[in-house]
């Protein structure tokens, strides 16, 4: 099951990603039973194939992790890609063209 996300990029260098994911840290309990940890651990952002973010997240990210990051030197037409992988090994990716 792929992880889905919304991705937008601007020629001003703004990259915004909203990833659909429960982001469970393993501490939350339902009826006294802990919900197993399940969260996005790895996120990679590339611009025209160049890695600009090699990121790691913990279970402390809020549900539906949101990232808004400004990258230097971007222009309209640049190809932005985001790849994520969670603690179960599930992955997701999206691409956007800087507008």
């Amino acid at each position: 099951m792929a992880i889905s996300m919304k991705l937008r990029a601007g020629s001003d260098g703004s990259i915004k990603a909203l990833i659909s994911h429960p982001s469970e840290n393993g501490l939350r309990k339902v009826n006294g039973v802990p919900v197993p940890a399940l969260f996005i651990k790895d996120i990679k952002v590339t611009v025209n194939g160049k890695v600009v973010v090699d990121g790691e997240w913990g279970g402390g990210m809020a549900k539906d992790p949101y990232l808004n990051i400004k990258i230097k030197g971007m222009k309209a037409g640049d190809k932005v890609a985001v790849n994520v992988k969670d603690s179960s090994g599930d992955t997701g990716s999206s691409e956007a063209t800087a507008a």
């Binding site: 501490l27 997240w57 990210m61 809020a62 808004n68």
Partner: protein, 154 residues
């Protein structure tokens, strides 16, 4: 077992698994996997998390601005904005100091444009701490966020 020894063993096991994966052709040549920093993300004490990310001697600076609500109604989703006014930033970290696991974000960045925003969970009122590494130096700034309803389920 001594906790440090256990972490070292865990780290060694991780490297071993990658080597096996590479040998088995599961990793493409040249593919770099940033090993998830288990020691840092599993640390329950802030000094341990800082040590694991090489930020034990971070110096306070006004060039990192942490914007966060003074009071977060819902600890399950607290918006954090980070502005870093310094060149050559190569790493950014975010911690919520009273979370069970304080480290939340560990980013290696290239061509960082000085701004980042995200949303984190906060267990209780605490400092949200940002670490930035730039030009071989380590800097930090923090902002206290009061949390009325904790968001970690603990």
């Amino acid at each position: 077992m001594n906790a440090l020894r256990r972490n070292v063993l865990k780290g060694t096991a991780g490297v071993g698994a990658l080597s096996v994966a590479a040998a088995a052709g599961l990793l493409k040549p040249g593919q770099v996997l940033a090993d998830w920093n288990q020691a840092a993300f599993d640390a329950k004490k802030v000094p341990d998390a800082l040590a694991a990310i090489g930020a034990s001697s971070a110096a306070n600076t006004d060039n990192i601005i942490v914007k966060a609500p003074d009071i977060a109604e819902n600890g399950a989703s607290v918006p954090i904005e980070v502005t870093v006014n310094m060149p050559d930033v190569d790493s950014i970290y975010i911690l919520a100091e009273k979370n069970v696991f304080p480290l939340i974000v560990d980013f290696k960045v290239t061509d960082f444009g000085g701004f980042m925003a995200t949303r984190i969970k906060m267990a209780q009122t605490a400092d949200v701490r940002v670490i930035a590494k730039a030009g071989g130096k380590v800097w930090t700034a923090a902002k206290e966020v009061k949390v009325t309803i904790g968001g970690c389920g603990g």
